[in-house]
Symmetry: C2
Subunit: 263 residues, 2 copies
Amino acid sequence: MTLLISIEKSDGSVRWRQSTGRGSTVSAVDRALRGLRHMIATGRLVAGQRMPPEPELCDELDVSRGSLREAIRMLAALRVVEPRHGSGTYVSQLRSADIIGSLSHTVDLLPLTGLLELYEIRRVLESHAAAQAAARMTESGIRTLYDCIEEMEATSDPAETFAPNQRFHAEIAKAGGNPAIEAMLEVFRPRSHSYQVYDLPEGAQIKRASDDDHRAIAEAIANRDPVAAATAAAAHVAHTEQWLRRYLPDDGVPPSGAAGILA
Amino acid sequence: MTLLISIEKSDGSVRWRQSTGRGSTVSAVDRALRGLRHMIATGRLVAGQRMPPEPELCDELDVSRGSLREAIRMLAALRVVEPRHGSGTYVSQLRSADIIGSLSHTVDLLPLTGLLELYEIRRVLESHAAAQAAARMTESGIRTLYDCIEEMEATSDPAETFAPNQRFHAEIAKAGGNPAIEAMLEVFRPRSHSYQVYDLPEGAQIKRASDDDHRAIAEAIANRDPVAAATAAAAHVAHTEQWLRRYLPDDGVPPSGAAGILA
DNA sequence: CATCCAAGAGTTGTCCGATGACTTGCGGGG
DNA sequence: CCCCGCAAGTCATCGGACAACTCTTGGATG
């Protein structure tokens, strides 16, 4: 049971205290966290603004500086605030892309099983972005796509394909026009190359199939064909999924919706 | 420039120290954060396991307890670890749904513009989940869907439609079969009702349209028609998007991909 | 013998005080 | 006018101490 009462002070600021219930139902860090979130949600702290200095917040939220700092760190991990040494702590711009980007440091820690679950999201979003790109991408962007493809096809060294592959997909995501989706795909991408699928026995075959996928995507976008682009992109991600599945300890549970309606 | 050197101790543990470059390029909290992430990524700390006590980690990572705690709080905010008062700090199960769920406390803080960007993700995922549900949902689940619809249609009080609406969409998301997508949709849903669209002048009309949308989705799922289900779900989310747009200060920038290829 | 309770060790939560490191703006000197 | 150094403001880090909570262990009790 959590019960809070707010005490309005004369200067308009608010203090939070826990109700008189025995035992501290609300920890100090929680109090600070709720208080800070409340300040942002209610507009008392505006995006981009510098927050009051720590001692001031400690006084208002009625927590020690250590506890306040732990709360601030939590919000910083979620990219809601941004502390700058020596200058102050600033409320972030609170863009959707920023918030989603906070996942980037955690997908690295997911076990392969969890990563494959995320791949269904990736497949759907990547194909959506490709469809949008087919309608919107500039001619110059399409040329960049083919540049990346040629660079990838020119080598069989995984290390050298990394950069152009990144650029290829980033270009499509950007052309999709939605910063949130772009950020989400950005989160997934780096992890894909952490597994060296090209080193598998069928490595050469996989490499060739991947190159073909890229060409199909670029072709569909160049032809301004959204459906074909979506299909090609979904197929590409699905392929990657299948290759990654080789690294699973054993083929146990059936894949969760591995084949979408577009594939 | 960041340069780290690792010092292997006799007992196998590792200490991190910053290189001798002038000025501390790596903060203490960063050091702790990297160290902890490294321990988890390399499998030295396994999911579900209790971590070593704080003093021990302080010694190994060469940071003070305060800095270590700030790092732990950051990982806790991202749902990577879970501190339990008096017991210890445990590595989470690292499920994809957990990680995505960490966003739930931040979408509340997004301005409406950012929220609408997320709605494109929601639209795509919701329609994907609906398509999957059309193929997989049990007969009992479909009955639940219609129960929710009747409950919603029976009232015009927004407060009373909240719960059945939640159940309706949750049921579909669950039937989709992917925990990550389910968690992602769960993140978006509560925020939808924070705006009281039914209180707009066209409130009654919106309410009716929303009820019709729900029926169309349930119908398509009951008919085992994935394409129709996807279309209906996308349309429903798109409607919500349009209604929310009324709350924008002015109609300035054009919507980012408001109409997907499915709509 | 089973059950409950109390005590203790182990661990995280909180606070306080002090000092270091960095940024920023101001003012003096060239 | 420009540049540099100084000083105030702010976050970063450390160390120590104590409180609060959990869990196990052992004994008392029925």
